[in-house]
Symmetry: C2
Subunit: 159 residues, 2 copies
């Protein structure tokens, strides 16, 4: 199961990738892994004109209608200013609509258009293919464990 290929690495042997010490660190492994995943995901999203953030934003908008911008920020843990350009672009492309909240004229209610819903559907399919490729060496149980471990670390560090 967990049989790790312990590399001993006492002396003499100079491996081609002497990142030995760093390999013990979760942060280092996660950075490497996330980087590979991010790069592949960006390639996957490129045909849809989406990036990581905009993909996430579009998904949230499509899953729960009539959110306010601050809600989206909170849900995705992104700063409000960083959301504005994404929504501006979405609006320009007619993927979403901004409607003034009748009950609070400061706020906008964000809703997906049919075009937005269609784009998200298509992109999500592509992303799921990408994910299956990324996790091809893991079985269902391992995938569940991995997801769970990531949540545990994230929540542990949550301020």
């Amino acid at each position: 199961m967990s049989a790790k290929p312990k590399p001993i690495e006492t002396a003499g042997e100079e491996g081609q990738k002497p990142d030995t010490g760093l390999r013990d660190l979760l942060g280092y492994r996660m950075k490497r892994c996330f980087n590979a995943l991010r790069s592949d995901l960006l390639d996957t999203l490129e045909p849809f004109g989406l990036k990581m953030i905009s993909f996430s934003v579009l998904n949230v908008i499509c899953d729960s209608r009539a959110l306010r911008q601050a809600d989206i920020s909170t849900i995705l843990s992104i700063e409000r200013p960083n959301l504005v350009a994404v929504l501006d672009e979405f609006e320009r492309l007619e993927l979403i609509s901004r409607k003034v909240d009748p009950g609070d004229k400061r706020a906008f209610l964000i809703s997906p258009t049919l075009k937005g819903l269609a784009l998200r559907k298509a992109a999500l399919i592509a992303v799921k293919v990408h994910e299956q490729r990324a996790m091809a060496d893991l079985d269902e149980t391992q995938i569940g464990d991995l997801m769970n471990f990531l949540d545990l670390v994230e929540n542990r560090l949550a301020k």
Copy 2:
């Protein structure tokens, strides 16, 4: 396998974090987790004047002496241009020395100074504390599994 575990999501129940669909995606969870980890790690490294990349670079230099810059780039999977400023700063701070390779006058051999070795040692201790905090909810086996899973995903996506 067509039975999608769709949580129906008709009406009424409005979860506080409706990132439902996204939660199924490894990329989304990993991004959130990595983000939390990265933020905490940056805080950890700040007293040492280090960032994620410079910390990694310093570690590699301290673990295997007399590397060329291109070796460091390859080991850490970073682009050569992005290494230059890091090494310039390290040199300025007298953490490393650049010596022309006698066998190839184009190349520099990078070695840590005593000051560099000391800084890396101190920073590594702090990082290990940070890591223990991050993984406090995981036992040894789970940590090993998590590391392994990350490697599997990274290697699967390696071009």
